[in-house]
Amino acid sequence: MSSSIFVLAETVEEQIKALQDRQALDSQILTEQFYFWTVVIMWLIHAGFMAYEAGAARRKNIMSTAMKNILTIAVVTPTFYYFGWYIYGCMQTGFPTVGPDSLDGHAGPPAFPGFCGLTAPWSEGMGPNLQDHVSLVFFLAFLLFSWTTASIMSGALIERVRLSAFLLLGVMLGSVVWILDAAWGWSSGGWMTTRFGFHDSIASAVVHGVAGAFTLGVLLNLGPRIGKYDVMGRARTFRAHNTHMTLMGLMLIFTGFYGFYAACLVIQSTTFPGWLNIYLSPTTLGTIAMVITFGFAGGFTGGWFASKGDPFWTLSGGLAGVISVSAGADVYHPSLAYLLSFTGGMACVWVGTWIEKTLRIDDAVGAVAVHGFSGFYGIFLVGIFAGGYPTGINNIESSFGGQLIGILTFVPLGFLSGYVFSWILKKTNLLRVPPEVELEGLDMAEFQQDFYPEFERAPEVIIGPDGEELEAGPILLDGYATVTSGRATTRAGS
């Protein structure tokens, strides 16, 4: 009797063990599927950026604009694989060190002791591995973030940057600069979080803010498009060749943002109790989905009113609104998100106008305002509205001071790296296309064709500073003469 009970107990124990193993495997595969589908959805961001920027370009620069977005994938993917991911895995507590205090010679995150070693391209985490269902899809989600940083910069530089210069800048931003700031301030082991409670849950600053700051540094060296400013330094407007394409692109970006938001969370039911943010603090998928939705609502509203109904700035306001509330999206109430994103949507219009008209910096799509300003505004808001929220594995409280440290770290990191690298390209004459090519249009030089061959060319029109429509030819030729003669006529140094 007792022996049969003993056998039964052994059998039940084996069955429980088998069920536990199966549950663990199912859980890992669900995690794998989750990140896989976020990656698929995030592709829409890049389809959207391509349409957005190509639509904003003049007809003579359509394909050169679109190719920047496509070739971003060609260069950021391998560079992020071969060294970008290693930066994230191994530099969270600072730069790699060698010595008794280091973790296998690296500065690895304490929450995942073996993570650093899994990020090297020759490691078991970066290739086919039947025992690891998470590392590769997690890498892919971050890779899509990396493409996004390069795409943020892309639109600002259109119609005069060399394609190859953009690709080199994209590598620097997408595979070095942003991922270094993510290691420091957007990871469970990042020194900014574990020491100062820095909180940027859905990457307001670490993706958007830093990319915007980097872009600003590049724009200072790149200079404005020929004809952008008149001799008085007043801004003219180049008419987008297809505003509908631009707006459709923005809507695709917005759709992809739901994947982006979801991919910023961590889920692994056998390891963690539920949904966690990137710092391993609890939240829910519904919380962030509500914030992004109300962020769009508030941002569209703010952008509409601040721009007095301008379609481009209304949609850009939606993007800025979401970015403004992303940093606290894991804890914000939907009403708070609505209110804050309304202010973000309005502010981006004013900042964008100020950058264009007062600073005389030619940011073709307002990326510095929409992403740069709104990104840092987002982490600033967390310091005010989510101060005291415990962040990360050390449960350090978020604070205004901690957020300020984030701003003071990331603004120079983004701006200086963008400025210095683009300055080197400028000095080696690799940054900007020749003025003759810019005047004719980049598509003819790069691809030897017009991309709407079946449609007759309408004379190019420029919107003057007072809103009047002007024939572009004389203005562009005058601008060309200014550039080639070296006679400076504007403070922007065109």
């Binding site: 020759w122 078991e124 004719e440 249009g441 562009l476």
Partner: protein, 72 residues
């Protein structure tokens, strides 16, 4: 000719070398080095190829018409 090639004999060794094996084995290291070389080479080639195109187009435009008419 194909029958003469020792596929069966070599197949397993080739597969072991070129597909992912244990961390840091020779095949993985060789693939990583080749990938890095392609990455660096393509970045250099992107710059050189575009420079050639832009220089030729700019020279042609300068020679043909001085300042070219602006594109529509």
């Amino acid at each position: 000719m194909f029958d003469a090639f020792p596929f069966d004999e070599w197949g397993e060794e080739i597969t072991t070398f070129w597909t992912f094996g244990v961390e840091g084995d020779t095949g993985t290291i060789v693939l990583t080095i080749l990938g890095v070389l392609l990455m660096i080479g393509s970045l250099i080639a992107f710059v050189r190829m575009e420079s050639g195109k832009l220089d030729r187009q700019a020279a042609m435009l300068k020679q043909a018409m001085g300042p070219p008419p602006p594109g529509a």
